[in-house]
Symmetry: C2
């Protein structure tokens, strides 16, 4: 439903106030950014991004309240997952060819 | 270094005793399965898969001790991450359009 790419896009939309600008920042085409936003909006019970296209040369986008809620759940999910798996990640790193601990 | 696809491949190699058969089971080309194994073997300090090609009509592959260790760290990592993030995943699911809890 939401993954790292979509979460980054939501965050960039919040920061830039623009779907096009958010996409550019993430190296995504305009079309790709819009498609992801449409997918997200269809996934959730209400839109997560609201956009105003055009209008006296002004267009813009912002996260809705639901968008903010979904993004913050996702960031907490990532933080908790990273914290919980840190010891296993460290153990895997120590098995790597380039691990300083083995050199 | 190791992700869900590579972990599944290691597990399938352990179960089938064959890189080709493991790849087939995962819907992967022979070449793709071999490339992933080579990448994994180069990533870790020692090979994670050992293979015997041919030899009186017999070829086979098995995880090395390091391969077993890496795979079990990765599976624990996944389990811990899933457990730690379960509440956030549930919260996100409740925000979805198709959530039974909202219907």
């Amino acid at each position: 439903m939401i993954g790292p790419g979509k979460a980054d896009l939501l965050e960039a939309i919040r920061e830039t106030g623009s779907i096009a600008e958010a996409g550019r920042r993430l190296g995504m085409s305009y079309k790709r950014a819009w498609t992801l936003v449409e997918t997200l909006n269809a996934t959730f019970a209400e839109p997560v991004v609201e956009s105003r296209r055009g209008g006296a040369g002004f267009g813009g986008a912002a996260l809705t309240a639901l968008g903010e809620t979904a993004l913050s759940h996702y960031r907490r999910l990532q933080a908790k997952a990273a914290r919980a798996s840190a010891a296993e990640v460290a153990a895997l790193r120590r098995l790597r060819a380039d691990s300083a601990e083995r050199k």
